[in-house]
């Protein structure tokens, strides 16, 4: 029974959280308050863990909350519940888009969406950079900044290298120098 409720609660979260992982957070607090599955402070811990494990944050949170609530079946059910609405909606949208992709109005809309999305990526970079390159006193962390510039130059120069190499390099740099 708890699995059914988990699926339903996370389905709702997936359906109403528009705009990415952090948009699910208010819904998760609400779930905790209504069901008593987890407290607000437990959820804060879960968010912190989700942010520092690989994978999309929203998926991590659903898995973690589901696991804490009902073990491995809970993890699977909560995660499937979260992605199910997206799956349905995107399949419908993709279907419509494939039919109208040569329509000049649709083309014009997409052309103007791209620079906006680029700005959103730049903004996500800006937020992550603020966390990464500033310490508690809001001073720039010099070693990280230098590593960033070197890595960026290498990435632009050696375009064929897989991102995993750069991520691993970052991890090694962090252990040695930070």
């Amino acid at each position: 029974m708890i699995l059914l409720r988990l699926f339903f609660e996370f389905f709702k979260t997936g359906l109403f959280s528009i705009g990415g992982g952090m948009a699910t957070v208010p819904f998760l607090f609400d779930i905790g308050a209504r069901t008593g599955w987890f407290t607000a402070s437990e959820l804060s811990n879960m968010i912190a863990v989700s942010e520092s494990t690989p994978g999309p944050i929203g998926v991590n949170m659903a898995t973690y909350v589901g696991f804490k609530t009902a073990g491995i079946p809970g993890a699977v059910i909560a995660t499937l519940g979260l992605v199910a609405p997206a799956l349905i909606v995107i399949v419908i949208v993709a279907n419509i888009l494939s039919r109208f992709k040569d329509n000049p109005a649709v083309k014009s809309v997409l052309k103007y969406l791209r620079p906006a999305v680029m700005a959103l990526i730049l903004f996500a970079f800006y937020q992550l950079a603020a966390l990464t390159f500033l310490d508690e006193q809001n001073k720039i962390v010099i070693s990280s900044t230098i590593a960033f510039i070197v890595l960026l130059a290498c990435m632009l120069r050696f375009k064929k290298v897989h991102p995993i190499i750069w991520i691993a390099t970052g991890a090694v740099f962090g252990i040695i120098a930070l």
Partner: protein, 190 residues
């Protein structure tokens, strides 16, 4: 995309790879997704990726999942959509359930914390290099350049919701289409 039928196994593995290598949300995933989807497998173009992100931003659910579903669907239909999405969530399921009991302890481990701080530096560099690559494709004329700058300013200075930004940019696209249509009509008349 390609003439050959995309293999479901390839879809699953590629998206699982993206899931493992994503640190910090859907936008941070873009450089890795670009590599797997655009460079390696040719499942979509860079422009299409941006389109999927725009749509993923404005539709229910997580952006990372929405983009995976989209690419899965366009390459292999409904089955592809399901497989790509399962691939994306699979690493999270495995990693989190396997480590759940020790995750809070791991988080306070000094070396793990340092490694993650270093990974964040690399992810920042990856994101900026992706933006540099995409800029040429996203900004093709003066109006699109204005949209990019305006969108960034609205985000940073006024904290406008991304959903509203994408929706407004879409409206600009509609307006540009109507202006162009009217101009073409006038040229025909003269």
């Amino acid at each position: 995309m390609s003439d050959k039928k995309t293999s479901l196994v390839d879809l699953f593995i590629s998206f699982a790879k993206c899931g493992v290598l994503t640190f910090g949300g859907g936008y941070a995933m873009l450089p890795i997704l670009e590599r797997e989807v655009v460079t390696r497998h040719n499942w979509a173009t860079s422009e299409q990726m941006l389109d999927y992100y725009a749509i993923g931003q404005c539709t229910p659910g997580l952006i990372a999942v929405n983009v995976s579903t989209f690419i899965g669907y366009t390459t292999r239909g409904l089955l592809g959509a399901v497989v790509a999405t399962l691939g994306m969530i699979f690493p999270s399921l495995v990693i989190i359930t396997a480590l759940a009991s020790v995750l809070t302890a791991l988080q306070s481990n000094i070396y793990v914390a340092k490694a993650f701080a270093g990974i964040r530096v690399a992810v920042c560099a990856l994101m900026l290099s992706a933006v540099i690559k995409l800029a040429r494709k996203a900004i093709s004329n003066v109006p699109t350049a204005i949209i990019a700058v305006a969108a960034l300013a609205l985000e940073i200075l006024l904290k406008v919701s991304p959903v509203i930004i994408v929706a407004s940019a879409g409206l600009c696209g509609v307006a540009a289409f109507m202006i162009e249509k009217r101009r073409n009509k006038q040229e025909e008349n003269t």
